[in-house]
């Protein structure tokens, strides 16, 4: 079976660090970064990128639409 690899791109400056994407992710890919953006929010990032399947759950729940999701077969 072909494996699917996804990638999540977070617009760091627009992320408000609410963490809804972190709990929405079924594969524990996303975490809030220890670093902050210019507004002082702990932005979301891919802590475990290999587990991402590109389901886009994170993008759907993101209130600030700062998540873009890509997916391809590898």
């Amino acid at each position: 079976m072909a494996k699917v690899q996804g990638a999540v791109v977070v617009n760091i400056e627009e992320c408000k660090g609410c963490g809804l994407c972190v709990v929405a992710c079924p594969h524990d890919v996303l975490q809030l970064n220890k670093e902050v953006n210019s507004k002082g929010y702990h932005y979301s990032y891919m802590a475990n990128p290999n587990a991402c399947v590109g389901c886009a759950h994170c993008g759907v729940v993101c209130p600030d639409t700062c998540i873009t999701v890509y997916r391809a077969k590898v």
Partner: protein
């Protein structure tokens, strides 16, 4: 495969719709308004309605909605969005008119307007954001505040003997013969948000087919007003709000025909 090889336009599965402006939203982190704005924007784009959509913004946090969706907007006095929408849809019957209202706006000061607009069966879509409090003004009790819920004006929790009972306004709306599709949804999880999007799509189709008023309640969070974290607010909503405001369709018919459920 390297991640940078994956990030190409042909692999895109989810991104920001063009209907949404690049303006960062002023809402608090984790606010449900952002998700509902996004669902509406996606549907307006997918259904090709950008040129004919007119939104009526409420008084409340979503008063600035005109900054975020690239469609025509009209502001209305507090609670009077259904009255303005009535005028617009009668003057411009070929347009798609929707109101976007919170619970303080729709269920309290605007209770008469919404009841009569729905009873007349105006061909408009009403999006009703129910977060149980007045979010913008500091988290005061609203008609929809559930029993025992702590707000800034009910610090000991809502006491039904003193403050009355929480109002299930969507159930009242579903009784009115002018409505065609009345539903209650939420956006706290990805599956709930996708389901909510399907409901709003159906509501828009009903409005375009002139079947009567469509009413979509979205049970929402206001984590700042509730004094919770965004994730904690979603959990609290699931445990406390949704049992009182159960999700699902309340009415699905055509104007003038009351469904048997009511």
């Amino acid at each position: 495969m390297e991640l940078k090889d994956l990030i190409k336009p042909e692999n895109l599965v989810y991104g920001k719709t063009k209907i949404l402006e690049d303006e960062p939203m002023h809402y608090c982190p984790g606010c449900s308004h952002g998700v509902v704005h996004k669902l509406l924007a996606e549907l307006i784009g997918e259904m090709g309605l950008q040129e004919k959509t007119i939104g009526i913004a409420p008084v409340g946090c979503a008063v600035f909605a005109y900054k975020y969706l690239d469609i025509d907007w009209q502001e209305a006095a507090h609670g009077r969005a259904p009255a303005v929408a009535t005028a617009l849809i009668r003057l411009k019957p070929d347009n798609f008119v929707f109101t976007y209202q919170g619970d303080g706006d729709l269920a309290s000061i605007g209770a008469a307007e919404i009841m009569h607009a729905c009873n007349r069966g105006e061909n408009i879509l009403v999006i009703f954001i129910n977060n149980g409090i007045y979010g913008m003004t500091g988290g005061q009790m609203a008609p929809t505040t559930i029993e025992g819920m702590v707000t800034s004006t009910t610090p000991g929790g809502r006491n039904v003997d003193l403050n009355g009972y929480p109002m299930k306004i969507t159930n009242l709306i579903a009784q009115l013969p002018g409505t065609s599709y009345v539903t209650r949804q939420a956006v706290h999880t990805a599956s709930a948000a996708r389901k909510c999007k399907r409901s709003i799509k159906k509501a828009i189709e009903n409005v375009l087919d002139k079947k009567g008023t469509s009413f979509v309640e979205v049970v929402s969070t206001c984590n700042s007003g509730w004094k919770m974290t965004p994730v904690g607010a979603n959990t609290w909503m699931e445990d406390n709000m949704i049992p009182y405001y159960p999700l699902g369709d309340l009415k699905d018919s055509v104007k003038g025909e009351n469904s048997s459920e009511n």
